[in-house]
């Protein structure tokens, strides 16, 4: 079973700027930046909305949400059961490559 310590390795993945792993009640389980708590609600809320897209799109479960930003520090949100993972991308990295790296990492934990 994956632990918070496993997720701390996320920060070393190329392209990851900041990350936060949040429980579905908003409690931050793992992070690598000081202001993670301020984003916890958004990560959980948007993750829940994305989970609910399954009701509207033929049962499709989403892989990730990407919010593009002018700064290039796009935000990615992934659902992990009772937890939600938020990633703030490094401005120079490719968003598709990063999303693929994160999914590979997450598959490696299960």
């Amino acid at each position: 079973m994956a632990t918070a310590k496993d997720f701390s390795r996320l920060g070393s993945i190329e392209g990851v700027g900041q990350f936060l792993l949040v429980r579905n009640d908003g409690h931050v389980v793992s992070e690598n930046f000081a202001d993670a708590v301020s984003l916890s609600s958004i990560v959980v809320s948007s993750g829940k909305y994305c989970d609910s897209f399954a009701e509207n799109l033929g049962g499709r479960r989403y892989l990730h949400l990407c919010v593009e930003r002018m700064s290039g520090e796009n935000i990615l949100v992934f659902s992990l059961g009772r937890y939600y993972l938020g990633i703030i991308k490094h401005p120079d990295s490719d968003p598709q490559v990063l999303a693929g790296s994160i999914l590979t990492f997450l598959k490696g934990l299960s």
Binding site: S41, S45, S46, F53, R61, V67, R69, M70
Partner: protein
């Protein structure tokens, strides 16, 4: 701007784009070219959920752009247009995001000979701003029409605190979202509090917790 024509152009330009639709707050879903993907009611739900996601992110980040939700066999792309309208596309994951961005941007920037140059909204009139009961620097900053000295503030704070017991820290964000909508659609009066309580209760997943929450809030129904 004729967004329906723009949408058709975008869908026609790339074979990987399977469909799309438009959404306007006062009009709902229109220009639907996603009938093969799901029905209009579900498209409306998708649009409303995206509006909520957008409003939450834009509070924190002032440079948000396009949104993308990736599924195994489909990507849902969403971009905000003028006056709170949205353009949605469904496309195959093999299509690169930058290609989609470029295609959409190009289509939205190109003006046809028939389009007027002055900035008018063709689809719907702008949403009317809610009239606050008392505009002060305090409640203006709080983005609420309720005066700080109003007797509603006590019950509203209790509502928020009670909600957080069941859904955690995310309660504050959800509460503010629904409160704003409530103030827009109804008069923020004690008589209309039950409507706010009703929609907030729906955010509680557990049926027993939802029942307990509603019962605890019964004291605020109709009272000042």
């Amino acid at each position: 701007m004729n967004y329906e024509a723009k949408l058709s152009d975008i869908i026609a330009s790339l074979p990987e784009i399977q469909g799309g639709f438009l959404f306007a707050p006062e009009r709902g879903v229109y220009g639907n070219q996603a009938t093969g993907i799901t029905n209009v009611d579900d498209l409306l739900q998708v649009a409303l959920k995206f509006s909520k996601i957008f409003s939450q992110f834009s509070v924190h980040f002032h440079d948000t752009g396009n949104f993308r939700v990736t599924f195994k066999d489909l990507v849902l792309f969403a971009t905000v247009l003028e006056q709170g309208q949205w353009l949605f596309l469904f496309y195959r994951p093999s299509l690169s995001p930058s290609m989609v961005n470029m295609t959409v941007q190009l289509a939205l920037n190109i003006q046809s000979d028939d389009e007027e140059e002055k900035d008018i909204l063709e689809i719907t009139p702008p949403l009317a701003e809610p009239t606050p009961t008392s505009i002060t620097p305090e409640n203006k900053a709080r983005n609420t029409g309720i005066a700080p000295e109003s007797k509603l503030n006590g019950p509203l704070n209790t509502l928020k605190n009670e909600l957080s017991k069941y859904i955690g820290p995310v309660a504050e964000l959800i509460f503010e979202d629904f409160r704003e909508e409530w103030e827009t659609k109804f008069s923020p009066t004690p008589e209309n509090l039950p409507e706010l309580i009703r929609v907030l209760a729906e955010e509680i997943d557990n049926a027993n917790d939802r029942k307990t929450f509603k019962k605890a809030m019964e004291t605020f129904s109709g009272k000042e």
